[in-house]
Subunit: 207 residues, 2 copies
């Protein structure tokens, strides 16, 4: 595989997904840090060279003139893991893994990750009135996502099939730090057991 | 491939993605209709048998005791198209296709599709105060997504590589009906040209 460079903010769970995937697969990853609170990813050179969408993470593949950039955390995880043990062999299970990764970006991250960002990094007193009006709906949405995960995990060890996949990595990133956004992990016993299983995987790295 | 059944609301662009993918690939698809305005997808039997997340589309694969259910529109499109001409051969391009599909679910659908749903199907006068407070932010988010697409398409015919892929199908679904949500397609010339190219694909079906 070509040289890999992760453009990231180390506080971001979306960036952590990519580091965790690389670590579990033993892939070396250089890191370039940005401070999203300072607007580092909205500067003209970042928008021009790295991601016109102004967001991290971006996985850079190769260096120099032939480098290519891949935004979207779950797409970057897919790039790293395709063909590895973290992507299931069966066609249905591969699609089912993507199903949980789309669920993560649609139902989980906009609620669970956003509340963590607002409450831990921005600070409740500095939220706009519009952001404040979203706290309760995002709380409800995040709790619904966690409850669905808990129900699913009540009868199985991993989200898809009988082994860990990218679905587990994608959902682990913001779930294991969700208390910073005001969620209570102890309400979700099956989720807690699953978090422990992820953290026990060989090669696991902390956020 | 096993028998395929789409659980859908025909007004939903997320459901249309799956029908369009199947049509372009010549795959037969049975259809079971639900009315999301009536709460059809929140009933106990739907939550138990089809999707605990209470949402359509769900792609059912097989029938009887061996049937399996796949929620999340883009995961269902992946299941249908994996190995076909709608999924690129190169590892980078496959991941880049998923990148645009995750972008669609994170930056595009929650803005462009939600405003269409609210304004065309719910009706502005029946929106809650909280929903009304979200119209302007969702307008801005949707315009940013359309502008990013327009910039990307200014120099290429398709989102990834030189042929149509699932990225085009995923982004086409709600873009081609975005005016129902108050967006102006004529502001995005490159997007308009691309919409015409999608509609001219052999096997294309209308929403």
């Amino acid at each position: 595989m070509d040289e890999l460079v992760l453009h990231e903010d180390p506080r971001s769970g979306n960036c952590y997904k990519i580091r965790l995937t690389a670590a579990l697969l033993g892939l070396p990853l250089e890191r370039v840090e940005y401070d999203i609170m300072n607007g580092d990813t909205r500067r003209p050179e970042f928008l021009r060279d790295v991601n016109a969408n102004g967001r991290i993470p971006v996985l850079q593949i190769g260096t120099g003139d032939r480098r290519r950039f891949l935004p979207e955390s779950n797409a970057a995880c897919w790039y790293l893991a395709e063909g590895s043990r973290l992507v299931p062999d069966s066609r249905f299970d591969r699609a089912d893994m993507l199903r949980w990764m789309f669920f993560e970006q649609y139902n989980h991250e906009p609620n669970v990750a956003t509340l963590r960002f607002w409450l831990q990094f921005v600070g409740e007193s500095r939220l706009s009135e519009y952001q404040r009006s979203q706290i309760m709906p995002k709380r409800a949405g995040g709790e619904a996502a966690l409850a669905l995960m808990d129900e699913h995990l009540a009868t199985r060890d991993w989200f898809v099939g009988s082994d860990p996949t990218l679905a587990d990595i994608a959902l682990y990133a913001y779930t294991h730090v969700c208390e910073a956004g005001g969620f209570r992990l102890r309400d979700y016993a099956a989720v807690c057991g699953w978090l422990d299983r992820v953290a026990a995987l060989p090669g696991y790295v902390e956020m």
